[in-house]
Symmetry: C2
Subunit: 339 residues, 2 copies
DNA sequence: TTGAAAGCGCTAACAA
DNA sequence: TTGTTAGCGCTTTCAA
């Protein structure tokens, strides 16, 4: 039923070896034989058995991506776009993409172990690096190639693509300060997440650069969801002297903050300025449209994937580590301080 | 370097066969041998070579999921949650998940072909069925097991889980009518998508049931994105006699419609009612919180995945086809008609 | 330019 | 209860 090399060999009167060589376009095979073999192969509808190939070649032509799913109702537009970027690039380079979804924690590492020990994949794309990242340790120990979207702490070295969150948040603070804001709050995710660390650092440095004092009561921790943006913004707005601007560290939390402000009758962009980070497609059509920092997730996914495949193939990387400058997109959610 | 059965055989003095049988817990192996083999195996850090197993067993223990990515900036929270549901269930049942991302169209079918012809997966999860669905044809022809999230046209039969969109939209229309709305508009995706077809049908039937006339000028086509919700809502609001309520066929478009209304100074839930469908997590924390229909995507992903694995294992399904009743979640985006 | 034969690591039919 | 042997479909020496 399923066509194998053997069938083609029988049909053409050649040996299995010759057929294999012809199909793999070896130089030593005569062009007549090649043509014959190819014709018969396509007539019979031959497709190689990839497991036989993989067993023989001891590789998998597959890359692994383990998506950290926060919460039971995991629904982050961030990952859709990244996944599309990784997936499409992998396909175009002839690689399969094995995806696993795990909540961060113990079981997450098991997923990596089962993929590495079972040699199911040739390498990994690692997303959303963390300060003390067991995944990085695990992969470095196992010697598996991987490329991360995100950096680690200074002393740990690996190939990555990352956006310069520090720079990004600085430009946001600068922007808000230039609009006259002096009490600027920040809703940041736990600094356990490296990107959050860098963004928060940018927020603090940004304040210093424009000559504003950092006020700890204006820095709250969120969990990246719209809900937590809403909750933390409410806390900020309840302060005796509330901020006139809120810089959220991602768009989703910014949306939540906007809802909280609007619920109190504030006009966002006038009474209060709120900014995000990521520029997810929704940011353009929210009310008001969101001032945020653009992150080209689809492209980043592609870059990371391509770097990984180079690594897997033993090729050297043009750049081991890339830091992208996010672009500030000014929309109507930020505006002049009302005097 | 890599430990194989051979190594364990050498170490224990048993044959490769016995070792294999011991590790696979065959009855006929003496418990002493089993224990010995297991001990040595774990001492040596043995893990089976899955490709050898798959070559031998002629199966893959892998299921395929091809995500249709609409547009270059694919960012649909819908799929994140579904993916998590499928992925987690697959993992817990011992299956790998091979994901491919393709824009609907010609290349999409290629992805299915390469997965089927290469026998890379044991079966497929099919998402977002379409009226004339080349994927269904392709899979039915190839005889590959698959389970869909979504139905096809009446004459085509396959296992699926789906939400009853017709019922859902009827309850929405009923709800809006009970609030006094008479001019109710609908923003629906192209009826090419089966779920859109059912939802639109529910909208129309719902109008009839409450004794309202359907007005074609109040039914516009969107593409599921926030942007198109925004654009279509603007068209509706520009009508000489604009609707007092808009039922969008998904949450994202509802958000876009809300933005459009708010931009004109309308208070959503008072001056105009706007509803969605899906109840993505954002719906709860938007401004105003969105009246919508809940779809348990995570659970649906799990169900579909589990059904597929039953099918792959040749087990019979408890239910071949499941239709879920979506629950209406009433929030503040819908309210009494202003007189 | 081609073919025979070995082997990738595993499972399973058959024999002992 | 265990071992021998064959074979899954492929690639790759080695020899002709």
């Amino acid at each position: 039923m399923v066509v194998t090399l053997k069938d083609i060999a029988k049909e053409t009167g050649k040996s299995i070896t010759t057929v294999s060589r012809a199909l793999n376009d070896y130089d030593e095979v005569s062009s007549a034989t090649k043509e014959l073999v190819h014709r018969v192969a396509s007539e019979l509808g031959y497709t190689p058995n990839i497991f036989a190939q993989r067993l023989q070649k001891q590789n998998t032509d597959t890359i692994g991506l383990i998506i950290p799913t926060y919460g039971p109702r995991f629904s982050d537009p961030f990952f859709s776009e990244l996944l599309a970027g990784v997936g499409n690039r992998a396909a175009s380079l002839g690689y399969d993409l094995l995806v696993s979804t795990r909540a961060p924690g113990d079981y997450e590492i098991e997923a990596y172990c089962s993929m590495t020990q079972g040699r199911r994949v040739d390498g990994f794309v690692l997303v959303r690096t963390r300060r003390k990242d067991a995944r990085v340790e695990c992969l470095q120990k196992s010697g598996y190639p991987f490329v991360a979207f995100g950096r680690a702490e200074e002393n740990i070295n690996f190939p990555f693509v990352d956006e310069d969150g520090t720079y990004g948040m600085k430009t946001v603070v600068e922007h808000l300060a230039s609009l006259g804001h002096q009490r600027i709050a920040c809703i940041a995710p736990s600094s356990e997440l490296m990107f959050a660390h860098y963004r928060l650092q940018g927020f603090i440095e940004g304040l210093a650069e424009v000559g504003l004092e950092a006020d700890d009561s204006l820095i709250l921790i969120g969990d990246l969801t719209q809900r937590s943006g809403y909750e933390q913004a409410n806390k900020l707005l309840d302060l005796p002297s509330p901020p006139t601007a809120i810089a959220a560290c991602n768009d989703l939390m910014a949306f939540g903050a906007i809802s909280a402000a609007q619920e109190r009758g504030l006009v966002v962009g006038k009474d209060i300025s709120i900014t995000g980070f990521d520029n997810i497609p929704m940011a353009e059509y929210s009310h008001p449209p969101l001032t945020t920092l653009h992150q080209p997730l689809y492209q980043i996914g592609g870059m990371v994937c391509e770097m990984l495949i180079h690594l897997i193939r033993g090729e050297s990387l043009e750049r081991e580590q890339t830091l992208l400058k996010p672009e500030l997109i000014i929309r109507q959610s930020s505006g002049l301080l009302r005097s």
